[in-house]
Symmetry: C2
Subunit: 685 residues, 2 copies
């Protein structure tokens, strides 16, 4: 169902008291002031709003059903308990969309009221934004049913769970001139939420950039698909609040919704190509860059400045966030030397010094964007110089080259004329060099992801009968190995021996040296209890080992031993599967042991992943050099590891009752790999 009635209504009814000072009155003034017509006031007294302060008046009706002209959108600010009846009326009147600003629903424990609203809306096919929301904006349609600051028109669309955040961005949009296309604060999200709004904006021709503020998502997978649908078409900038423990605690109390582990959000956003930022300032800067600059072909950025120190600080920051700020080529330096005085620094930053001129900026940028993907003109204006001519040079260079050129002209007080001039010619100016650099960094990252874009990996088609994990509780190790083997995962040769006699026989068949581990349903951490004996060389040692395992299990349910060949010369890797409440199965890869415990060097993805995605997971491990053969060792078979990771990530879709699986360690050789140990937790147990 289209959201046409919501964003492009033929008429708007504002339902709630229209007396001066009331929210209904303010909304009507805001709508009329924004240029929207026709607007109708609806309240029990049927009171309209008279013309005042140059704004025309609005007729009043006692019910939406009495309005003779077509109305597509109802904006509701009437008291909480009236809202279901108001929606009934809207249904009668054929209204197809409602923005419910009224609060007092699930956010204060009134789940029943909210459910009733949702039910009435569904029955009448009314699409609802809210309740407890800050309204919507569509600048193309001059539609402004919100109490927030009205932003200038443009191509950035914003979806916000929190009305306050939306309010800040709209106020800043006005203050700093960021053009907004559509804005939706969806509040409690009784009907429309981030997923459907995201899909709409992804396909909206009036939107070039989508910004999203969320505290949680309700359906992680649907969100990822909608987000990827969006990022294929346009940049998606996301704030996900509640990064840390205290943030999440606050989120719980704030929205009453359960926030997933932040690292999973991080992974999910990365997988669907969204740009995650941490603050509203960063969101604002990124949107400004995306909506004004052409895409960056790569990550090479040159900084042209009139000031050494701030130039160095911007270059520092660029390097820190992974941009390439290499020096210009000798040929480019030669070209610069043709017109720049010798006291200028021909490095990166190129320092034109305080004597930098309009022509200096123009020619320097033009000469350098030939070999860089973007330029930043960083100008620290002294109070006694006019910086408008310098802005002129920057704009000329951007236009002539067609390359992305960002500006940071500061301090604001002194560049009061230069910044509007820059922006009037399509050059965004940022508050500091570092913030400009961050915005370019987001653009470069977005472009890199576009280049390597591919659809999210799909779960294997569901079986007619979903697979069941064997056994009724936690599987014993040899049962788990059987199961891995049956699912095509590489396991070493292994034998289960309930008795010493059988153990000696199996040791002989496998061939010494061997490893022997205790098998007991009551022992989870075998090593800690002395339940693992390595490097057993002969029958005598095997006898000793078996009795040690029996001792280790003393007083527990001892079932026997599992025997493996002794494995050497392999790198040990950990693969894990778990379940996130929002995103479902999640797959992890790390080096295990201290690498995971001390360094937290573990890479997550929402499962499943294909082999290519598995490769990039491995590539993100900080300990990658160890897998690539640091310290003179042979490199590990990363191709086999990626294959296993992809295969492993499909298991929870084949076996929906999987809760957690740890393969720890996986022995990775220079050629091939085998799973060394496995632990499976059944979801229902």
């Amino acid at each position: 169902m289209s959201l046409q009635s919501l964003f492009y209504p033929r008429g708007v009814a504002v339902i709630g008291s229209s007396s001066q000072g009331k929210l209904g009155y303010q909304l009507i003034r805001q709508l009329v002031g924004g240029g929207y017509r026709p607007v109708y006031a609806v309240n029990p007294a049927g009171k309209g709003v008279p013309a005042a302060q140059g704004l025309s008046g609005v007729p009043g009706y006692s019910s939406v059903t009495c309005i003779p002209q077509p109305v597509d959108l109802a904006v509701v600010v009437s008291p909480t308990d009236t809202v279901p009846a108001v929606l009934e009326d809207c249904g009668q009147a054929g209204i197809k969309a409602a923005v419910i600003i009224t609060a007092g629903f699930s956010e204060v424990g009134n789940q029943a009221g909210e459910a009733e609203v949702a039910e009435v809306a569904r029955r009448h096919g009314i699409r609802v934004v809210g309740p407890n929301c800050a309204g919507i904006v569509n600048t193309r349609h001059k539609l402004t049913p919100t109490l927030e600051t009205l932003p200038p028109a443009g191509s950035v669309s914003l979806i916000a769970q929190s009305g306050a955040v939306a309010g800040v961005v709209l106020a800043w949009a006005k203050e700093f001139g960021l053009g907004i296309s559509k804005f939706v604060s969806y509040g409690n999200g009784a009907d429309l939420r981030e997923v459907e709004l995201l899909r709409y904006l992804a396909d909206d021709p009036d939107t070039d950039v989508v910004a999203l503020y969320i505290e949680s998502v309700s359906d992680g997978r649907a969100f990822m698909e909608a987000a990827q649908h969006c990022t294929r078409r346009k940049p998606l900038v996301v704030i996900k609040a509640g990064r840390t423990e205290s943030g999440q605690r606050a989120t719980l109390s704030h929205t009453g919704s359960m926030a997933g582990a932040d690292a999973v959000y991080d992974a999910a956003l990365q997988q669907c190509g969204a740009i995650r930022v941490g603050t509203v300032e960063q969101m604002f800067d990124a949107c400004k860059a995306f909506s004004t600059l052409s895409p960056l072909a790569g990550d090479r950025v040159v900084i042209v400045t009139n000031s050494g120190g701030p130039g160095v600080m911007a270059a520092d920051w660029a390097e820190e966030i992974g941009l390439n700020v290499a020096e210009p080529s000798p040929a480019a330096k030669d070209r610069l030397a043709e017109f720049l005085p010798p006291h200028c620094a021909f490095k990166n930053p190129v320092d034109l010094t305080v004597e930098g001129t309009e022509d200096g900026y123009r020619r320097t940028i033009l000469a350098l964007v030939e070999e860089y993907d973007a330029a930043l003109a960083l100008n620290i204006a002294p109070a006694y110089l006019d910086s408008v001519p310098l802005a002129h040079g920057v704009c000329d260079a951007a236009e002539q080259s067609g390359k992305p050129v960002a500006a940071a002209f500061l301090p604001a007080q002194i560049v009061k004329e230069a910044v509007p001039y820059l922006e009037s010619r399509g050059i965004p100016s940022f508050a500091t060099g570092e913030r400009a650099v961050s915005a370019l960094g987001h653009m470069a990252r977005h472009q890199a992801r576009q280049k390597s874009w591919r659809p999210l990996a799909s779960p294997e088609p569901e079986q007619q009968i979903p697979g069941l994990l064997p056994g009724s509780g936690q599987m014993l190790e040899h049962e788990a190995m059987d199961w891995l083997k049956a699912n095509g995962l590489p396991v070493p040769e292994y034998r289960f021996a309930p008795t010493l006699e059988k153990a000696l026989q199996e040791c002989g068949e496998i061939g010494y040296p061997v490893v022997m581990k205790v098998v007991s349903p009551h022992i989870l951490h075998k090593s800690d209890l002395g339940g693992v004996v390595l490097d057993i060389q002969d029958n005598a040692a095997a006898e000793t080992a078996f009795s040690r395992l029996q001792q280790a299990a003393a007083g527990r349910d001892f079932r026997g031993a599992i025997i493996y060949p002794m494995i050497r010369g392999a790198q040990e890797v950990l693969l894990g599967l778990s379940r996130d409440p929002q995103f479902g199965p999640v797959v992890a890869c790390g080096l295990g042991g201290v690498y995971t415990e001390v360094w937290h060097d573990i890479v997550l993805r929402v499962a499943p992943v294909d082999k290519q995605e598995a490769r990039s997971m491995i590539g993100e491990l900080k300990s990658l050099p160890l897998l690539q053969g640091a310290r003179g060792e042979l490199p590990c078979d990363l191709d086999a590891l990626a294959g296993l990771l992809a295969e492993f990530s499909q298991l929870p879709f084949r076996y929906p009752d999987i809760g957690e699986v740890d393969l720890n360690p996986v022995f990775v050789f220079s050629k091939g790999l085998v799973v060394g140990d496995v632990r499976i937790i059944n979801r229902s147990k």
Copy 2:
């Protein structure tokens, strides 16, 4: 020598053309406009500046020697080649201080001109700021010889190497109301530089906070002493630009470039208690907090807000930078419940919701600062509500409690009245919640360092004759071990054996198992060449080992083998010494191997360190859990390690020809430690 003449002159002469539009003219207008008297114009024509635009005129003289009244400060903007003669005149006239704004000296390669300026100044006892600088300000004396924006008066003093950075801060100071006491842009620093200015401002009663922007220091040790002199008295906020673009690298021999010169600046600033920030925005925010808020007794911060989302983001950030944002105690929650409606979140952040009132802010903050060290009032103002009453509540709570309360009232456009109101009552308001949190974080860190303050460790008193390293080139391993032993460092039993016969005898005396390593002046990386044989069990194995070492050294200068007992069950640690061009000897500690190569987990300090500082170095290692006995092992003897580190850090002062020393590994046991290998590079070699 005092800088009284510079900052509190009885008269100022501006030397250079005073024609309208010239720098001299502008400076005189700025001085007179700022309220300073008396000012004299000095130029060949003896031309004064007439009264204009309500500003009084200034008399002109052809030379400073002709001015009949006392003049203490000369401000020089005359052409480059006239400056030495101008200074001669100043000397004749008894002028004791000069601010030389004129450029064209060492920054463009004119070292000779700058040396001449310095020589004339020294001869006449004139203290010089500049040349090539942006001037100075002393708001207490209404002294404003600068072309930059004039800031409001206050208690923050600023020293800046870069005039452009100073210009930005002064302009922002005006824009955002940060009060400045003294400002110095020292440009090329021919005479006065950061060290002497820092010492002056540390003792200046008109300065409560010192901010410093540097790109380099000339004498690292003198800088550290001056900085510590300052931080003992007042906060010192530092920007050191050039974090990544470092020409010189402090390298440790085994592992290549583990730490750039910037890491040494980081260590040095930490050692002397300075607060390092990355951007001018951060410097500005920190200065604002330090100059307006009383010190934080601890790191517990409560966030009181009217808005869930931004509150969550601020709490996220607070936790990320190490502040304690724990929930209020049950008792405090009970108190809140007495006056807050139940839909407010009583966690941290405390969310008063958009219905938050003046009284709500006042009582909530008052109730909570009893158990927190600071509060942040984060108010996201909707356009339709007046936020001044809320600001009123915040200010009352701050005054009544006497606790530090910061504010972030935003967006700026909507809180145009609330922010000046807050600041008029001494409550700083920051642009975003995150920025307020960062500023509180700096305050908490400063206070923690004040609590654990102690003077920098001193080098051991110099010997009459400085020690010389033995040998003429790189020391052989046994010579190096001899030297360590002579200096009291713990070494294992070791024997040098030039022949197989001797080797077998020494192995027997040490007792098997042993380790044997090749000794050759031409082999640096013994392991890479097979020059190390571990775990030799008997005479036969020792014979084989010796001949393997001979093969490893084939074609090189083979001197024999060094033999050690085989050491097991120890944690391996790396200690290093190197030399930084600015700061001299630097000491490093890490876990060696992959911990250093892959994780860059190494902690630096400017040497020497005392045992307490050595302990905090060890405490900063990310791999500390491994030393504390992670994974069920015994904890290492960290006391012995700290002792060794302190002892080791004194060596370069006893032996000034030390270039680099690596102790890698040091074997650390649960009790005691020994140096396992050593490499020494002579400074002059």
